[in-house]
Point group: C2
Chain length 296, copies 2
Amino acid sequence: MEDLYPSRINSEPTVIERKDPILHSDAGQLSPGPLTIEQLKSFDSNGFLFLPNLFSDQEVKNMQSELDGLWEEASSSTRPEVIREPQSDKVRSIFAVHRDDPMFSALARDSRLQSAVEQILGSEVYVHQSRINYKQGFNGKEFYWHSDFETWHVEDGMPRMRAVSFSILLDDNYEYNGPLMLIPGSHKYFVSCVGRTPENHYKDSLRKQEYGVPDHESLTWLAKQGGISVPTGPAGSVLMFECNTMHGSNSNITPFSRRNVFMVYNSVSNALVKPFSGQAPRPEHIATRQSSLVNK
Amino acid sequence: MEDLYPSRINSEPTVIERKDPILHSDAGQLSPGPLTIEQLKSFDSNGFLFLPNLFSDQEVKNMQSELDGLWEEASSSTRPEVIREPQSDKVRSIFAVHRDDPMFSALARDSRLQSAVEQILGSEVYVHQSRINYKQGFNGKEFYWHSDFETWHVEDGMPRMRAVSFSILLDDNYEYNGPLMLIPGSHKYFVSCVGRTPENHYKDSLRKQEYGVPDHESLTWLAKQGGISVPTGPAGSVLMFECNTMHGSNSNITPFSRRNVFMVYNSVSNALVKPFSGQAPRPEHIATRQSSLVNK
């Protein structure tokens, strides 16, 4: 298959124009769904959409206590799904919660998420990846700028830009507890990164990304065009963002944790192929290759 | 001299009530000066005051180019005044610029700063410490929570809480480029920290603080009482804050640097004594012991 978005191949970074639609239509018609035309337009132009209070207080409470239980369990676990902070043993992320946890499995099938994403992707969808991110108070370290698609394309073999992520906020997000920052409009460009990917580096990369890192010049160019947006809001709010939107977050030294559940949907028409790096694919819990298992 | 604020002595952290005034009067009368009663009250209650656009665009430009020149010079310097980032060789701070640089020496005597601080401290003042903080884009790391007074008391022998700091913003401060965060009201409490200070640790501590670090419980207690405030504004704005106000900042992964000049004034009635740690004092460029040299 032709590599429309080559990355980690050249010695100089380049910026390529996006070759895929953002709103994917089915036979020229946008699909019906819960998002208004204004919301779709905003997603189209910015690459993200913030939905305040999509989940109720009670739903938030239930998910929070599920998070606490999983944290407890993960703290002493050596399961590969559990990723730790780069400079401590604190749990940073737990992967594949849509597969392993009944509550998050139900969340993956929740129509508030699934119908919205089907509307944007113009097709049936499946969960490509899910995880909990614990950005603990005092200790949470930064996530450097990246396009998720760049990694999913190079390391997992996602061929086209036809996936959308949800971050379900399970703590109040303030401007000061390391909230997600996004560069509006950045989803229209693909930043081709330098450096080859070593085999089996993914375990380290989930703690601290060292490959697929966009260069300073391209980031500055994107941020000067689009600025930086920092959506904040109460727990239960949801941030949905396009798979190629450049995003990252600063550290969190405040006492206030910033936990979220991250759920990625890919179009069934965009199932994974052989990784474009030419290397072995990452394991199932990071990028499932069973796209036929539509979560319905 | 009696140690009114013991710290790094006990094995358990404690919170002590402040034993000094915040607005220091001269014979029961507040001193006249540029700050309004409302501004003084706000400083008294919050422990800081934000003064937007105190310096003109032209003054900012002049200071910015001075910063560029000093950065250039510092990059290859081994002077003790130059401190580097904890995980890279990038310049993090340059100390004693009020002593070594003509422009910042003039800034130290600028009446917009000096008269305001004399109004609060109710006496003549001198510059206890000055520095430039370069919080570079992409690479700027966090400054963990601390009370400056705790360090100045333990390591430098500052006896009482009668000093005020200015941060002169030389880049636009946004909520996303690692701006200073303060806990309103925290200046009314002294968090006594645990752990003894090793001799000569200060060179490392200026890159990354490991002693005089307040505990999680005290920080959470303070932040739940007062919240967290993140003043932002254009370059040329000035943040003044009380020597005991708890503050810190997150990392800065954005392309936008967040440079500032930091100028600390101490009351001439509060000159340094022997460090309360019982150890040798830190060098002159970090804490001057020549309080007689009032900058007039």
